[in-house]
Symmetry: C2
Subunit: 218 residues, 2 copies
DNA sequence: ATAAAAATCACTGTTTTCGGTGATTTATCT
DNA sequence: AGATAAATCACCGAAAACAGTGATTTTTAT
């Protein structure tokens, strides 16, 4: 890619503060982005004469769901890069975003260096996902393109049940007569496969997906 | 209590190995227990001419649920001390045992010093619960004798929801604009109130009790 | 009004989780 | 027979959870 090429970006967010902040960050740290346009609604965004090289979208817009907007942009300008910028860090929310084939996900809570890094990576043709979103991405990837299913092995299910019962890794190792390292590996695979960030998330996901049953009433 | 008094105990377990092990431990470390009787079924236990000072019962017996046996013993000999000895460390199971007003709970996985300690404490008129059971005990205590309900405050529910969504304490603190210390306190209260040992257990309990809903399908 | 509960924050130490990486041995499937 | 997945174990470091204690301020209820 030509190092002297300049890029255009469209920032879409219904909060002016966010727009100004992003604009400022980009202006000061990313001189290769020469055109910075903004929009505060989905409609306004679609009216801007594109294509832009990069779209950075909030998912919560007054007139339109940000993900609908993603569809529109993808339809018109398939080569554009799209970064989603959201305050929602909920896992199911991230999964939704992932399915729309975006190039990057940012959370509004992050600091400006991350924004710069994300833009650099996306412009370079790579993807950027916030740490929290990375796990979810991997999980979905396995399910769709990888061809592999994310079904759990018998042993993993064993470990999962013990985890959901509040056991620590060392306790599980004892009860299943395994090394702690082994249980930790299973645990890691569980987190990966279910796209969970920690055991709380793991249990919630597993129960919600019906992988493990609710606890019997006592 | 007279230091020279000797005590009697009835050990009930359907595994002879366990009986022999317990017997051995008691003989070698607890000279104050002079009468050690054993039974391998609930029926056999009830046929032994009591009362014994202490009953140590397995909950899994071939002919009878150990908790039924507790009832029988309590009815006949209200002053006897009862210790439950079980391999089941599941929380809901512990809760069940707790409700039967026993003096101690041991898990078969523990080492012999704990057995001795438990017997000493129970003989002295105190209670003994394995570490894992202690939390559950505190929770139930609040619900019944304490008069206090274990209902969660609004803030605690807030924090719980975030936890169940896989958020870390620091993330929750950020999102709710609280100090990390505060969130940790809420978390601790949640664990106490729901009788959970860690977040995995917390989420499982909260979902099972219907305190928080399952995650929306995506 | 005043007692009780809720909400807030602080400090400290230990244990556990989480993430990355890599490797070997069985099963299993094609 | 060879590829693939499952199951096993190891080592490391950083981050988070967990446990115990204590304390102040605000709400809420009696």
């Amino acid at each position: 890619m030509d190092c002297n090429k300049t890029f255009s970006i469209l920032l879409v967010d219904d909060h002016d503060l966010v727009l100004q902040g992003l604009k400022r960050i980009i202006e000061s740290s990313l001189p290769e982005i020469s055109v910075i346009s903004t929009a505060m609604t989905g409609r306004e965004a679609l009216e801007k004469s594109g294509p832009f090289d990069v779209y950075m979208l909030d998912v919560e817009l007054p007139d339109m769901n940000g993900l609908e907007l993603v569809q529109h942009i993808r339809d018109r300008y398939p080569d554009s890069r799209i970064i989603i910028n959201t305050i929602h860090e909920e896992i199911w929310f991230i999964k939704n975003i992932m399915r729309h084939n975006v190039n990057g996900i940012l959370f509004k809570s992050i600091d400006s260096e991350k924004v710069v890094e994300a833009l650099r990576r996306v412009i370079a043709g790579n993807t950027y996902y916030c740490r929290n979103a990375e796990r979810v991405r991997r999980m979905l990837h396995r399910n769709t393109s990888g061809g592999r299913s994310c079904s759990l092995s018998a042993r993993e299910l064993d470990v999962l049940k013990h985890i959901s019962d509040g056991k620590s890794t060392s306790e599980i190792a004892d009860e299943l007569c395994l090394s702690i390292n082994t249980v930790e590996t299973h645990r890691r695979h569980l987190l990966d496969k279910l796209g969970a960030r920690n055991v709380a998330d793991l249990v919630m996901t597993a129960v919600s997906e019906g992988i493990i049953p609710l606890r019997k009433k006592d």
